[in-house]
């Protein structure tokens, strides 16, 4: 049981770590998609089937497309995609900050005695999720719906070119 978890964790972490260090943006994005798929595998391992498929549908299916389109739309030539390495100071301070946070978190986790419930793997059916979404969490569902609509409208407004502004530039 734990071996599966460790394999999933190593694959996910490896993909994410390599993605963050690569110079080619497209490869970074594709590896990150692999690491999202790893997170979905973790959800499957934990028995949260619905969340795993939702993660695949949203991240691998939708967010990845937005990311890849953004990568392709924000470059002038193919050479633009190889990101020049950043200054060493920036990288080092980033690593120090990340390492410190990691150390504190892992130390806290290891030091805390966790009372693990001995109950078997909890199951949650789609029906239960639906009932909860429509019952207890109905208000949050509505708010999330409004948020998504507003956010997507806003995204379109921000990203769409002003046609009057630079009419000579557009091909």
């Amino acid at each position: 049981m734990n071996a599966v978890l460790i394999v999933i964790a190593l694959v996910t972490l490896g993909a994410a770590a390599v993605a963050m260090t690569l110079r080619n943006l497209i490869h970074s994005a594709l590896l990150l998609i692999a690491s999202w798929a790893g997170v979905a595998a973790f959800y499957l391992w934990a028995g949260a089937e619905f969340v795993a498929f939702a993660e695949i549908l949203v991240y691998v299916g939708a967010v990845s497309m937005v990311v890849l389109f953004a990568v392709l739309l924000t470059r002038r030539s193919r050479a633009d995609l190889t990101v020049t390495p950043d200054s060493a100071g920036r990288a080092i301070s980033g690593f120090i900050a990340g390492g410190a946070v990691c150390g504190v978190l892992v130390g806290a986790i290891v030091a805390t005695p966790m009372g693990v419930g001995s109950s078997p793997t909890p199951t949650v059916t789609v029906k239960q999720i639906g009932v909860q979404l429509m019952g207890t969490h109905a208000a949050s569902l509505l708010i999330v719906g409004v948020l998504l609509t507003v956010a997507l409208l806003g995204a379109i407004v921000i990203a769409s070119a002003d046609r009057t502004d630079d009419s000579e530039d557009t091909p």
Binding site: I26, A54, I56, L57, V60, G61, S64, F69, L72
Partner: protein, 407 residues
């Protein structure tokens, strides 16, 4: 797979009985594993063969429609009989295996190799949750429909990888076009099955098939397609499925006569064959899902025809839908890219949303008196027909000049 119910006819139980006879003596953990492997092997074998003969059937039917014989030269080896070119797919297979595999010099080698593999893997994954017959579903999942479309959504990634890795600007442009099409039609595809989930109250494919059991007046099956919302949903689903599987009339991403096969330009030999195979697998899987969601799954249309085993009914419906796909390809001209996206966003998506509301009206009226039960038929038909006519008129009024914004 569940153990067969003992009340079923022998033919109905035959596949499960046969499997149990083979694996029954194995100890428990191995038994499940071997059963799973058998299911995988069967799916690959049956759908692989089906793919081979559908390509032949497609070329034959296209030939028939266009008044020419179609491929009829390939002989059966050793006996030298032709049988209408029945061995053509195998000849094609050998040809694509032995062809040179050309990789452009500057291509992204890894991604160029990975794209067809990923595409095929994802499209095979979708076969796992379709119920092929009574008790014949490879993986029983609580969120099966969601799984199906999650695996299907991942195929877009492979299209992008193919276009990007080829290092050819035309490939890349065509891949972006293909992605625009796939994303646009993903919406009506997903929206069109939500009413089914709403009525059946479940995301499990077996339960959705069970929800369509029985006959009204003894001869009208309770299939979802025989309701106003179900019929509209089915039509929207099939149109979106045509576009999702890159079939004509929505095959602009790889229009052979206009853009040298789009994102597949730099692919040759066996990799191209893999793309081809994945496209047909996608078509078969979407048809299987359409059957499960709307056409009663493996259920027989009439009570006295129930003696025919369920898996044969499923196969028959599948072949009928595939024939529909081929017929549409033979008769409809290709859409322009702007017509295609306009059709998705201004016609299919609003219609699918209205259909969702329509389904809510339908299910609210089902609890009331007999008069309401009768009244919901014309009411729901009107709710979907009026927007159909209005939106359709608007759509045909827009054949005005194109705006070349991104061309």
């Amino acid at each position: 797979m569940i153990a067969a119910a003992t009340t079923d006819a022998f033919l109905e139980r035959a596949p499960v009985l046969l499997r149990d006879a083979v694996t029954g003596f194995l100890p428990e953990p191995w038994r499940t594993l071997v059963n799973a492997l058998i299911a995988v092997g069967l799916i690959l074998g049956i759908f692989g063969t089906l793919f081979a003969f559908i390509t032949l059937a497609e070329r034959k039917i296209l030939g028939r429609v266009q008044n020419r014989p179609g491929p009829n030269r390939a002989p059966i080896p050793f006996i030298n009989k032709r049988f209408f070119g029945l061995s053509q797919p195998f000849a094609d297979g050998v040809k694509s295996l032995t062809k040179e595999d050309i990789v452009p010099r500057d291509a992204d080698k890894v991604l160029h190799y990975l794209a067809p593999v990923a595409l095929l893997a994802f499209s095979i994954l979708t076969f796992a949750v379709i119920p092929y017959g009574r008790n014949l579903v490879p993986v029983e999942l609580d969120a099966a429909v969601l799984y199906f479309f999650a695996a299907g959504a991942a195929t877009e990634l492979a299209v992008f990888m193919a276009g990007w890795a080829s290092r050819n600007k035309y490939s890349l442009l065509a891949a972006m076009r293909a992605l625009a099409q796939l994303i646009s039609y993903e919406l009506p595809l997903l929206l069109s099955w939500v009413p089914v989930v709403l009525i059946a109250g479940t995301l499990s494919t077996t339960a959705i098939v069970d929800a369509q059991a029985g006959w009204k007046f003894g001869f009208i099956p309770h299939w979802h397609v025989f309701t106003p919302w179900g019929f509209a949903g089915f039509v929207i689903f099939m149109v979106a499925a045509l576009a999702e599987s890159n079939r004509s009339p929505f095959d602009t991403p790889e229009a052979e006569s206009e853009l040298i096969a789009g994102h597949l330009t730099e692919y040759s030999g066996f990799k191209y064959a893999l793309f081809f195979m994945a496209e047909y697998f996608g078509m078969l899987a979407l048809s299987g899902m359409a059957i499960t969601l709307f056409l009663g799954g493996w259920r027989s249309p009439l009570p006295f025809l129930e003696f025919i085993p369920s898996y044969l009914w499923f196969g028959g419906k599948l072949l009928a839908l595939i024939f529909g796909f081929i017929w549409i390809r033979a008769t409809f001209p290709r859409l322009r890219i702007d017509q295609l996206t306009r059709f998705a966003w201004k016609f299919l998506v609003p219609l699918a949303l209205i259909n969702l509301g329509n389904t809510i009206v339908w299910s609210l009226m089902s609890n009331s008196s007999a008069l309401m039960q009768l009244a919901r038929w014309p009411v729901c038909a009107a709710i979907i027909l009026v927007p159909f006519v209005v939106l359709g008129r608007k759509l045909s009024a827009g054949v005005a000049p194109r705006i070349y914004r991104y061309a």
